[in-house]
Assembly symmetry: C2
Homo-oligomer: 156 residues x 2
DNA sequence: CCTTGAACCTCTAGTTACTGGAGATCCCAT
DNA sequence: ATGGGATCTCCAGTAACTAGAGGTTCAAGG
C-alpha cells in the first residue's frame, strides 16, 4: 500500500492533482489509515497511470472518464473507444494545421522586422493589420470552439 | 460612434468579451451615452482588432498587453516586440512538435484496433500501457509548464 | 518514550480567457 | 406611448488543475 506521496512519485502526478481526481470521481475513494491518510493499492496505481496517459495524449477529462468506463467493462464493444480516439486524432490534426499556418505568419512577421523603433516595426504593424482576418471572420459564422489541450507538463 | 453590439459585429468579438477586456484594462473605458451605454470611436475599434489579431496568433493576454504598451509608444525600440514574437514562435514550434508525435501515437493506436470487445481493444490497451511514459517521467524532472493557448474560435 | 520534521489532512481561493444568465434599464421606430 | 431588441451590472461557471493556510499524523532518532 502506498501513501499519496508515493503514488505521486510513482505516476508523476502532483499530490493535489490526485486529490482533485478523487474529488471529481475519476479515482475512487481509497482506503484510509486510522489517522485518516490515504492508502493506495496496485489497482489505483494502474488507474491513475491510465488517466495520465490519456491526458498525455491530449484527451479531455470527459473523454478519459468515458474511456475508463469502457475499460471497466471488458465485455462491451470497443467501438466507442475507437470513436473517441478517432475524434481525438481529428482534433489533433486540426490543431496541427492551425499551428502550422500560425507558425508561417509569425515567421513572416519576424523576418520583416528590421529593428529600429516601434513606429516602423513590422511585428507591431502586421499585428495591427487586420483586413484579412476580419474578412475571414465575416464569411464564417464560426461554431465557437472551446476545448483546449493543456500540455500539462513539459517532458523536455 | 458605435454601440457595443456594432463593435462586436465589426471585430468578431462577443459582447461580454469586450466588456471583459475593459474590466482587465486592455480596452480603456469608453464614453457613455446619457443612458450609460458604451460608445466607441475608431481608435477603440483599431485597438480591439489589434488585440484580436494577437489572440488569433496565439499570444497570451499578458503578451498582448505588452505589445499594446509598445504600440502606444512608437518612439521606443521594437526589440521587445521582436523578442515577444520570437518567443511565441518557439512556443508554437514546441507545440507543433509535441502534437506531431501525439498524432503518431494516436494513429498507431487506432490502426491496431480490430474491433471486437474492449477486452482485446488496442486503444484501451495502449492507453493502459504506460511503461515508456513512466520511464520518461522519471528521467526528466520537468519544469512544469503552464500556459496554454485557447484557440478561441474556429475559423474553419 | 518522546520529540521533531516531513508528509499528510481539509478547505478555500486563484489561475486563463472567457461565457452565460438574471433582472433591470435604455433606445428607437412605429 | 409603447413594444421589443439592445444594453446595463453583477454573479457564477467552464477546464484542469495549483497554491496556500492552518492543523494532524507518521516514522525515525535520541
Amino acid at each position: 500500500m502506498l501513501g499519496i506521496g508515493q503514488l505521486s512519485a510513482e505516476t508523476g502526478t502532483k499530490v493535489p492533482t490526485i486529490r482533485y481526481y478523487e474529488d471529481i470521481g475519476l479515482l475512487p475513494e481509497p482506503e484510509r489509515t486510522v489517522g485518516n491518510q490515504r492508502r493506495y493499492g496496485q489497482q489505483q496505481v494502474d488507474r491513475l497511470r491510465f488517466i495520465r496517459h490519456c491526458r498525455d495524449m491530449g484527451f479531455p477529462l470527459a473523454d478519459v472518464r468515458a474511456l475508463l468506463d469502457l475499460s471497466d467493462d471488458p465485455e462491451r464493444s470497443c467501438a466507442s473507444a475507437d470513436t473517441i480516439a478517432r475524434h481525438q486524432l481529428q482534433e489533433v490534426e486540426r490543431r496541427l494545421a492551425s499551428l502550422a499556418s500560425l507558425r508561417q505568419e509569425l515567421c513572416r512577421m519576424i523576418d520583416q522586422c528590421a529593428g529600429g523603433t516601434v513606429a516602423d516595426c513590422r511585428v507591431i504593424e502586421s499585428l495591427a493589420d487586420h483586413a484579412h482576418c476580419i474578412a475571414d471572420r465575416h464569411t464564417t459564422p464560426a461554431p465557437t470552439e472551446q476545448h483546449v489541450e493543456p500540455t500539462r507538463r513539459d517532458p523536455a
